[in-house]
Amino acid sequence: MTSGAEHHPHPPSDFEARARALESLLVEKGILTSASIDKIVDAFEHDIGPMLGARAVARAWIDPAFRERLLAAPKSALTELGITEHQVEELVVVENSPDVHNVIVCTLCSCYPWMVLGLPPTWYKSAPYRSRVVIEPRAVLREMGLDLSTDIEVRVWDSSSDVRYMVLPERPAGTEGWSEERLATLATRDSMIGVANAANATPSAAAGGEA
């Protein structure tokens, strides 16, 4: 952990102090090394980010049989993509359509599909998001830039147990013939939480490169 005190003019919080005490004790006793802790943190920050979920979404957009498997048995479908660090008992993938929009929340705490989306954004863990998105999801989504027609059913999924959820967003128009790698650049973290649609097929979004 490198979030050192040099960035914080104020004293560390109780949680920071506790985490640091635990870390130094584990290192001192030879149970962990600082390098192994850094490696885990680094993996969550850089390797296990939303790109894993994005790869699954892009594959589902181009391969209908994979889409079926991703919806029916998400973990084994992810294993096909080499994503094997599932960490949770169960992952459920819910699909958006022209008639249905899904959005994920954990009202009790901050349950989040880490294995496909990496670290949760701060707002996901905030009390206002967690309490409001179940009561007035359309208003919350509108504030976040997604204005849904009342023709579209909104389904809120509260992952208050061991099951984790991920949204399969709709494939944006104008992406016919795109490569899987290029499509993956459109499957943003927010679109897989359900607070946004997949990015538009704009030239900047396409900068992810064509294979």
């Binding site: 169960e90 009561i135 999801p137 359309r138 009342t150 992952s159 147990s161 099951v163």
Partner: protein, 59 residues
């Protein structure tokens, strides 16, 4: 009830070191109106994962 999962460890007891109670978890679907009444937004449903002991038999 939309679907059944688990069984999973009941967090209420597990978190307090009172042993492991394995319970099925049900994804229960509510119409927004059932929860929020007139304040509910239109065409909105909420699915909540609930452990078996959170539920009561329907009358």
């Amino acid at each position: 009830v939309d679907s059944v999962h688990g069984p999973y460890k009941l967090p209420d007891t597990n978190a307090h070191h009172q042993g492991l109670d394995w319970e099925p978890v049900y994804t229960v679907r509510f119409e927004a109106r059932e929860l929020w009444g007139d304040a509910a937004e239109p065409r909105t449903t909420i699915r909540i994962d609930l452990s078996q002991s959170y539920l009561e038999g329907a009358p």
